[in-house]
Structure formats: structure tokens, C-alpha cells
């Protein structure tokens, strides 16, 4: 489990708000009296305009609250940006606060390259998440396993179908992350000559787009056994299209990402939604934790070395067998 969320479930209530303010007051108190070393960590992520990015914001907030309790000498600021240019301004503004560490999931890497390099060269401990820079400018790079996501999904579908059947693939936009997932998926499927990929289409990982693409694909393909959606929001939209068209030929729908909505479906034994593969937005939480340990020069657990420079989180297949492990009812994704 890549999740730092160890000390149980929190409820989004007034109690939480009170805790927050109490914590804020406590922090201010320590800021005034502390003689111990103070660290400032800035976090910036893309704005919550999609299920996955909403999860990202939620996990960033969650992790900073939990870590601030465990590490009273660390201050956190979390910002989000609705474009790469806005995120450049985020980083510039964060750097003004004498940052010790920067945790960033770049909206788009080339746009952010210059400003991340500036931060890194100034000696700010830099953790880049999910989207790799062309010219490395970071202490740590942490990401999910995109090829692994495609592989796991392909193996599961092939096994569930017994190596025989027609499938549709709902892809993401033409960006490297998507091609890594889809290429790995197709590589595995090459070993199963009985599996026939009828179509592989771009949905932009957008629910509305996914709905109309799936409708079109279902219309032109009367015999479909399984659908793989490289993203869980897309899966939910595809499911709607399947239900509206009364397509009972489809036996299996597999997603990607690991959203709570899909996990909930798997948990309640959904007739066709039986699996998804993790690509956890909680990676931002681990990234923030890495920044805390990195900036303090601490080791992780029993490791004999400091924080590693690259970290790839496993892509885990979630099915009815292990779904409880991934159930996090409060999470936004």
C-alpha cells in the first residue's frame, strides 16, 4: 500500500473543522515560540477538474493535515492551478516563502521545466510527481506504474474471458501516459490470439466524451464481451451507455485508477464491473511524506539509504478478493 493514511478514518464534519482551527492555532503557537528548526514545504497540483485530480487535492490536504500533526516543525501550503501557466505562478509565489521543499505534480512538464529548475538550483528539495521532466531537476521522482496498469488490466481480462472474446478499449488523450498504458495492454494481448480488439478510441478521459464514444462503439459492434477503460471516470460513463443500450452481451468491464466509486461497485459484487487497477492519486501524499523525510535528511523505515531518487508505485489489480484493502469511503477518488 502506497498510502500513508495509517491512523484511521476521518469524518468530514464540524469536528474536523474545529480540529483544523485548533491545529492552526497550535502551529502558530509553535511558530512563535519554537527554537527548533522550522521547515516550509509547498505543494502544487493541477486543479480538481477531473475525478483523479479531485482525489489529488483531497489527498494533498489529508496528508498535510496528518503530517503537520506528526511533524510540528513543518509548515505546509497547498496550492492548485487550472493551467500550466497558472502553476508557474504558483511555484514563483511559493518560492517567495523561503521554501525548504517543493512537491509538484506538473500540469504539463515542459511548461513547468524552467521554474522547477529554478527552484531546484536554488537548493529547494524538489519532489516531482507523476509527470517526468525532460531535463531532470529534482531530488525525487515518484509516479504510478502506467505500463503496469495496462498489463494488469490485460492479464485480468484475458484470464476472465478464458483467452477468447471481443473487447473494446477506451483510451485517454494522445499523451505519453496513455500510450504507455495502451501499448502495455496490447503487448500482453498479443499472447492471446483468441482475443480480438474491435476498437481502441480516445475518450480524453472525460466522462461526457466517454459516454458518446461508447454509444458509437456499441452501435457499430453488436458482439462485445469486455470493455477496458484506462480510467475509472470513463468506466462509469461507459457503464451508463451499456445500461441505456441494454447490452447484456458484455460480461466484463475493467477500469484504471482505482476510484472509490468503482471500488464501491466491486465491493457490492457488481455484475459486470469486476476489476480495476490502481494508479493512486494518493501518490501526492507519499510524495509529501518523502519531502518531509528528505528535507530532514531522514531514512525511510529500516532502509540503509536516504530517500531514493526514483520511486514507482505498484499498479495493483483490485478485485472482489482484495477490495477491502483499498476502500477509503471519505476519499474524493
Amino acid at each position: 500500500m502506497p498510502i500513508t493514511h495509517a491512523n484511521g478514518v476521518t469524518t468530514m464534519t464540524l469536528k474536523r473543522v474545529l480540529q483544523k482551527t485548533a491545529l492552526g492555532a497550535a502551529l502558530m503557537g509553535t511558530a512563535l515560540t519554537a527554537s527548533a528548526q522550522e521547515y516550509t514545504i509547498g505543494v502544487t497540483v493541477p486543479a480538481a477538474e477531473h475525478g483523479w485530480t479531485a482525489g489529488l487535492s483531497w489527498w494533498a490536504q489529508q496528508a498535510t493535515e496528518e503530517l503537520a500533526e506528526k511533524h510540528p516543525d513543518v509548515n505546509f501550503t497547498v496550492l492548485s492551478a487550472n493551467s500550466g501557466t497558472a502553476q508557474v505562478a504558483n511555484v514563483e509565489d511559493l518560492m517567495i516563502r523561503n521554501l525548504d521543499a517543493l512537491v509538484i505534480l506538473p500540469y504539463n512538464p515542459a511548461t513547468l521545466q524552467a521554474v522547477i529548475s529554478e527552484a531546484y538550483e536554488e537548493g529547494i528539495y524538489t519532489v516531482v510527481v507523476d509527470r517526468e521532466l525532460e531535463t531532470p531537476a529534482q531530488n525525487v521522482f515518484i509516479a504510478g506504474d502506467n505500463p503496469g496498469l495496462g498489463e494488469q488490466a490485460a492479464r485480468y481480462i484475458a484470464e476472465e474471458l478464458g483467452g477468447e472474446g471481443n473487447i473494446l478499449v477506451l483510451e485517454g488523450p494522445p499523451i505519453p501516459i496513455n500510450s504507455q498504458r495502451v501499448d502495455a495492454f496490447n503487448r500482453v494481448m498479443e499472447n492471446y490470439p483468441g482475443i480480438n480488439i474491435l476498437a481502441s478510441q480516445n475518450t480524453d478521459w472525460n466522462a461526457q466524451q466517454a459516454l458518446s464514444v461508447t454509444e458509437d462503439l456499441l452501435g457499430s459492434n453488436p458482439e462485445v464481451d469486455a470493455i477496458w477503460a484506462g480510467d475509472d471516470d470513463v468506466l462509469v460513463a461507459a457503464l451508463q451507455a451499456i445500461e441505456e443500450n441494454n447490452r447484456d452481451d458484455i460480461q466484463l468491464v475493467v477500469g484504471g485508477g482505482g476510484s472509490q466509486r468503482v471500488i464501491e461497485m466491486i465491493r457490492s459484487d457488481h455484475p459486470i464491473v469486476k476489476g480495476t487497477v490502481t494508479y493512486p492519486p494518493s501518490m501526492i501524499a507519499s510524495a509529501i511524506a518523502l519531502a518531509v523525510h528528505g528535507v530532514k535528511g531522514e531514512r525511510l523505515g529500516d532502509m540503509y539509504h536516504g530517500v531514493p531518487s526514483r520511486m514507482i508505485l505498484a499498479a495493483d489489480l483490485i478485485t472482489a478478493d482484495n477490495v477491502e484493502e483499498y476502500f477509503e469511503p471519505d476519499a474524493a477518488y
Binding site: L79, A89, D93, P109, Q113, A114
Partner: protein
């Protein structure tokens, strides 16, 4: 504006007759109040590096907002500026990466940006004047067309350059201020002079106030409208140079995203009437600064990212309410 101005109260009349400095009084006061609040809210706000950051962040949309001021005063609107910036940016990076001599490449890329912006602005302007289509509709369409072309030419991928000189343009400093900021202020001064101290500027205002009357007074209305879109295009080209060189790259899906809204907001906060006919360049500059300071202050104080849009929207409404309260 003419049927309205007949009904205006003497008080409003008096406001309208004030010299230019009076027209920007409300936005200027708003800016000062915001500045004071920001310096109290965050200890980092008055940090010189922060102030120069804010100015640089403002300059990209500010430059475009100045072009937009011409278009809006002449009674038009340009929604395509953000997409145009992306398309021009793609052209800039293409020129940079095609020409081997780094110095030549930078000069030609900058020229290409200005010419490219001018041509796209001309395209908008011709559709409005010759095609007789409303500016809102024309630029709504070209907003989609320009963005789509930028995505098509690059396969939606970001393009970056290894040109060693380019980053010095938008990332460089002169006399302690970033180059984009100098460009923004120089453009503001020139635009102010053109708009208020030349016959052309008076024609722009006259066309926006009442195109029919302007036509009867012998002003070539179509040509004036066309020229405002051309100016907006050149401003977009200038902004594209500054932004792409600062970032040393362009993202076709992201560059200029929502810039049209920020530019229009800056113009409106600055007191220019969306209905055309009157407005000031300095008001627009102040409007852009207000927007930039809000963004900066929210980031510095770490306001919840979910609430930032609300604060920004509220300040825009407040600034505009303060100005329009006097008009019945």
C-alpha cells in the same frame, strides 16, 4: 451610448466630463486598498522579488488586455486571444527549432510572432467587417479554430527549445525589472498616446460610441474596426514572445488558457465600458494589476484552492459595482 447619455443625471455627466485621471479613480482606489490589504495579509507580499514576480505574472495577460482595450472601445470583443497565443506560440517554437543560428532564430521567431499575430488579428477583423458577422461570434469560432490548429500542428504535445538565447528574452531582467514588465509598461504608454492624443484614437472612441454617427462624420468605420483587431493580434504576438521565452516552451492545450477572460476582466475592472465608446489604457493596466495581486495574495496566504475562484470573482464584481453605481 447616445440614447443612454440623454437620460444621464447631471452627476453622471460630471463624472464623464472629468479628465482621464478621473475615469481611473475608482479602479486606482481599489488597487491601493488591495495593495494595503495584501501587505498586511502576508509578510512576504512587499518582498521585492515577490513584487517583480507579480508584475511579470501580470504582464502576459496585461499586454493582451491592452490590445483588448482597443477592440472593446471600438465596440467589439475578441474571445480568440488565448487560443491565438497558443497558435502563435507554436509558430514561434517552430521557427526557433528550424533555424540553426541561435541569434537569427530568436530574431526571426520574434518577427514571426508579431507578423503571425497581426495576420490572425486581421483574419478576425476581416470576418467582422467584410463578413458582417458579430465580433462575439467570429472570435468564438476562431477561438476554437486557433486552438485546434495549435493542437494539430504539435499532435497536442508540448514543444520546447534548446536555443540558448531565447529564454533571456522573457526570463531576463533590465534595471532590476523583468523584460516582460518593461514591454507591458512601454506598450501601455504607446497605447495611451495613440488612443488619447491622435486622430486615430478619437476615431476608435467615436466608432465605439456610435458607429452610424461616426460614419456620417466621415470616419471609415470598417477600417477602424479592422485595425483594432490587428492591434489585438500584434499584442497577442508580443505576449506570446514573452510567455514562450519565459517558459522556453509552449503547450498547445494550455498556453493562453482562459487568457481571454482575464484580459476582458482587466479591461472591465479598469472602467472601460463593454458597450464601447469609452475607456482608458491605464484603467486596463490597473485592472490587470488588481487581478495579479489577488492571485498572488491568495497563493501567499494559502487560501484553500477551492475558494480562490470565489474570492477572485467577488473582487471583480466589487470593483465593477463601485464603478457602475453612478450610472443609472
Amino acid at each position: 451610448m447616445s440614447p443612454l447619455s440623454q437620460r444621464t443625471t447631471p452627476l453622471a455627466q460630471r463624472f464623464r466630463n472629468l479628465p482621464i485621471s478621473g475615469a481611473i479613480l475608482a479602479p486606482l482606489l481599489a488597487l491601493i486598498v488591495l495593495f494595503v490589504i495584501s501587505s498586511l495579509a502576508s509578510e512576504y507580499f512587499l518582498n521585492t522579488r515577490n513584487l517583480s514576480n507579480v508584475l511579470r505574472q501580470v504582464s502576459y495577460t496585461g499586454i493582451i488586455a491592452i490590445g483588448m482595450t482597443f477592440v472593446i472601445i471600438a465596440g467589439g470583443i475578441d474571445l480568440s486571444v488565448g487560443s491565438m497565443l497558443a497558435l502563435v506560440g507554436v509558430v514561434v517554437l517552430y521557427v526557433l527549432n528550424t533555424i540553426t543560428d541561435p541569434f537569427q532564430a530568436v530574431i526571426l521567431a520574434m518577427l514571426a510572432a508579431l507578423v503571425g499575430g497581426a495576420l490572425l488579428g486581421l483574419f478576425n477583423g476581416l470576418l467582422v467587417t467584410r463578413g458582417r458577422i458579430a465580433a462575439f461570434v467570429v472570435t468564438l469560432a476562431t477561438m476554437s479554430i486557433f486552438r485546434s490548429l495549435a493542437l494539430y500542428f504539435t499532435d497536442a504535445a508540448e514543444v520546447s527549445t534548446r536555443n540558448p538565447l531565447f529564454q533571456g528574452v522573457g526570463g531576463g531582467f533590465v534595471l532590476g525589472l523583468p523584460i516582460p514588465v518593461w514591454t507591458f509598461f512601454a506598450l501601455a504608454v504607446v497605447s495611451h498616446v495613440v488612443l488619447f492624443h491622435t486622430a486615430y484614437g478619437r476615431h476608435v472612441c467615436a466608432v465605439g460610441a456610435n458607429a452610424q454617427v461616426a460614419r456620417y462624420s466621415g470616419i471609415r468605420v470598417e477600417r477602424v474596426v479592422l485595425s483594432t483587431f490587428l492591434i489585438a493580434g500584434v499584442c497577442v504576438g508580443l505576449s506570446a514572445i514573452m510567455l514562450t521565452s519565459r517558459l522556453n516552451s509552449v503547450s498547445p492545450s494550455d498556453a493562453g488558457y482562459f487568457f481571454e477572460l482575464d484580459a476582458i476582466a482587466a479591461v472591465v475592472i479598469g472602467g472601460t465600458a463593454l458597450s464601447g465608446g469609452r475607456g482608458t489604457v491605464w484603467g486596463t493596466v490597473i485592472g490587470a494589476l488588481i487581478l495579479g495581486i489577488i492571485n498572488n495574495m491568495l497563493n501567499l496566504t494559502g487560501v484553500s484552492p477551492y475558494l480562490q475562484g470565489l474570492v477572485k470573482g467577488a473582487v471583480i464584481l466589487l470593483a465593477v459595482l463601485l464603478q457602475y453605481k453612478r450610472a443609472p
